[in-house]
């Protein structure tokens, strides 16, 4: 896709918050699409697939969870939930539906923009990897130049953030990476964040790279500390 300008879709029913998000995103050089409802958002993505979606959970009509789920069913587009719901189970449900990150209202504009930028980051310019270098772990190959993950030679579709997490873990060569470390380096958090964001992404990633996701052999949990790849 040779589109110079990246597109963000803002799904939010409050017009002021929409305006604030639009202005900030445009200041960052993004093209902004707006949707007041989940229904409108689903129509918009059919015509014009955005590069990132910001979703409010409490929307009139279809709930934000369902929007996230149907978006995730068809694409690996980064999804950030921007919500006034801070209840634990809502957060978990949003992440399980397929969101990559969540930000609670009222948010700090700078923090939100940092997270959005991280989700949109171009892999080649910032990964710092040598050209053509490939990380390997068992049957898994991570091609840093093409941003591809292959298992037994077959391409596995991963999202931007999933690729980054895998790259960090495979690059650590069996060392344990804490959830806090991953939140700061991969998600762009500057404050302490919610480890469940990481847990949930790892869960999704296992579904793609493990032969039996319920008994992981490659991506291992070190309870209380974090995650590591099989050495």
């Amino acid at each position: 896709m040779l589109r110079m300008m990246k597109t963000a879709l803002v799904v939010e029913d409050d017009p002021t918050i929409r305006m604030v998000l639009r202005t900030n995103l445009e200041n960052d050089g993004l093209r902004v699409l707006e949707a007041e409802t989940a229904e409108a958002a689903l129509v918009t993505v059919q015509d014009d697939m955005p590069d990132i979606v910001l979703v409010d959970l409490r929307l009139p009509g279809i709930h934000g969870f369902d929007l996230v789920r149907s978006l995730r069913a068809n694409s690996e587009v980064p999804i950030i939930i921007v919500t006034a719901n801070t209840d634990s189970h809502d957060v978990v449900a949003g992440l399980e539906a397929g969101a990559d990150d969540y930000v609670t209202k009222p948010f700090v504009t700078k923090e939100l923009m940092a997270r959005i930028r991280r989700q949109l980051r171009r892999p080649l310019t910032e990964s710092g990897a040598e050209e053509g270098s490939v990380l390997q772990c068992g049957p898994l190959e991570l091609h840093q130049d093409t941003c591809e993950v292959r298992r037994d030679g077959i391409k596995v579709p991963v999202s931007r953030i999933e690729f980054d997490v895998l790259q960090a873990l495979m690059g650590a060569q069996g060392r344990v990476l804490s959830r806090d470390y991953l939140l700061r380096t991969v998600w762009g958090y500057s404050n302490a964040g919610d480890g469940r964001v990481v847990d949930n992404l790892i869960y999704r990633l296992r579904g793609k790279i493990e032969s039996d996701p319920s008994r992981p052999e490659l991506l291992l949990t070190i309870r209380g500390f974090g995650y590591r790849m099989k050495a």
């Binding site: 409050d14 002021t16 918050i17 305006m19 604030v20 998000l21 202005t23 900030n24 200041n27 409490r58 006034a84 719901n85 801070t86 209840d87 634990s88 189970h89 609670t104 209202k105 009222p106 948010f107 504009t109 700078k110 804490s178 806090d180 500057s190 404050n191 302490a192 919610d194 480890g195 309870r223 209380g224 500390f225």
Partner: protein
């Protein structure tokens, strides 16, 4: 004085009751048995003595010497026959010397026959005296065997009585325990409810006396649960309805603030004030919503947490070097999100009210891990130390725009959720020290 518990009172009552009944039964049994045995023994002795007297009389009449006449008598149960002729005593054995016999008995015996129970040299005897022509026949029967039998029987009855008392006590204790089972259940249920398990219900015991209590308890639990659910819904709605406009206001303010370089200095100053107050309001709102949500059925998920690593993470988030975290790594089993909120609020408090966080010390104390946060401030007024955990309480020196004084209250709430303790004191470095005591194993 504190009165005894129901269990003890029932136990003691049962013990006293059974002890009294057993004592009455034993006492009367003893009295009857002793009377019966004594009478029987006396009757047997009189019969024996009469037979012996007749045998002696016949023998004397036949011309035998008194000593011979006595010697021919059969000795039964150690009985000792004696004969007084004139002032002279004749006897075949010398177990009881005649001069120890009571004179009144002998006088009465010489006249019409007499019997008496006496103690001679500490031994019980039954003495029977009867006239024999002009002389006096006396026979002494030892009662030791009878007395020994009665004593043994008496002690047996005392033992039975004591046993009955003990049995009564045990029965009382058992009955009280059985009676108190529903009461204990009620207590346990109330405690569980107070601990936040709102699904606690008491089972039907199928007992018409006890079921109303269980029903009343269950109804109360139902009402409490419904009320809390209603309040939670309300709090969630309030939270949502306040957060949205707050987001809009602070977002717009952020946009305005970005434009201050292009504004007239006067306008820029106004926007600057607006932005500061909006941030303050926003921070306060977030804190208030957090504190109002706490305690309401907070979900606890324990996992091993390295306290030192978490402290280092918190310190870095404040923009400080994690070199100030001192002490060994210490792993506890707790809910990491709550502990993170405890540390974060204490650290932020030290940064904004204590002239900066200076040192964080981890001390492994076995059962607990102590984490102390020392600040660089002037220390805390002891009078304020206890009140610092109340919402909206700040030190006098605190910058009025720095925060609402909710941080420590939030820290305390989160600490309580994971059974940790927070206290404030003086740091050896001169400032204030906030110490968190984290139990190694979270008690559920």
């Amino acid at each position: 004085m504190k009165s005894l518990g129901l269990r003890w009172r029932v136990t003691i009552t049962f013990a006293i009751l059974s002890l009294s009944v057993a004592a009455i039964v034993s006492g009367s049994t003893y009295a009857v048995a002793s009377l019966y045995l004594s009478t029987q023994r006396t009757d047997a002795a009189i019969t024996r003595a009469s037979l012996d007297a007749r045998a002696v009389a016949a023998s004397l009449r036949a011309g035998s010497a008194p000593g011979e006449s006595l010697a021919q008598l059969p000795v039964v149960d150690g009985s000792q026959p004696m004969l007084r002729i004139g002032e002279q005593w004749f006897t075949s054995t010398v177990a009881v010397p005649p001069d120890l016999l009571p004179a009144s008995l002998l006088d009465q015996g010489a006249e019409s026959g007499a019997q008496q129970r006496v103690e001679i040299a500490g031994e019980p005897y039954l003495i029977i005296a009867m006239p024999l022509d002009t002389s006096l026949f006396v026979e002494v029967f030892p009662l030791r065997t009878l007395d020994a039998t009665l004593t043994l029987g008496g002690w047996g009855l005392v033992a039975v009585t004591v046993l009955a008392g003990a049995l009564g006590a045990f029965l009382g204790w058992y009955v009280a325990r059985r009676l108190l089972v529903p009461v204990d259940q009620l207590g346990a249920g109330a405690l569980a409810l107070a601990d936040g398990d709102l699904n606690t219900r008491l089972p039907d015991a199928g007992d018409p006396d006890l079921d109303p209590i269980a029903h009343a308890f269950n109804e109360m639990a139902e009402a409490v649960q419904a009320r809390i659910a209603r309040e939670q819904r309300f709090a969630a709605n309030v939270s949502h309805e306040l957060r949205s406009p707050m987001t809009a206001i602070s977002g717009v303010t952020d946009l305005l603030e970005e434009r201050t370089p292009e504004m007239a200095p006067q306008d820029a100053k106004i926007v600057d004030h607006l932005a500061r107050q909006v941030r303050r309001l926003s921070r306060m709102l977030i804190d208030l919503l957090e504190i109002s949500r706490m305690g309401a059925n907070e979900h606890i998920e324990t996992e091993p947490i390295d306290v030192r690593a978490l402290a280092a993470q918190i310190v870095r988030a404040q923009g400080l070097s994690d070199d100030i975290v001192i002490g060994p790594p210490a792993v506890v089993s707790t809910d990491g999100r709550h502990l993170e909120r405890v540390f974060d609020n204490i650290a932020r408090n030290a940064q904004s009210h204590g002239e900066g966080l200076r040192e964080v010390t981890i001390a492994d104390q076995g059962e607990t891990v102590a984490v102390s946060f020392d600040d660089a401030g002037p220390g805390i007024d002891p009078e304020l130390a206890d009140r610092i955990f109340e919402p909206f309480v700040r030190g006098e020196a605190a910058d009025p725009t720095s925060g609402a004084g909710l941080g420590m209250a939030i820290a305390l709430e989160h600490a309580q959720a994971i059974a940790a303790m927070v206290s404030v004191g003086s740091s050896p470095l001169g400032g204030a020290r906030v110490t968190v005591l984290i139990p190694r194993v979270e008690v559920s």
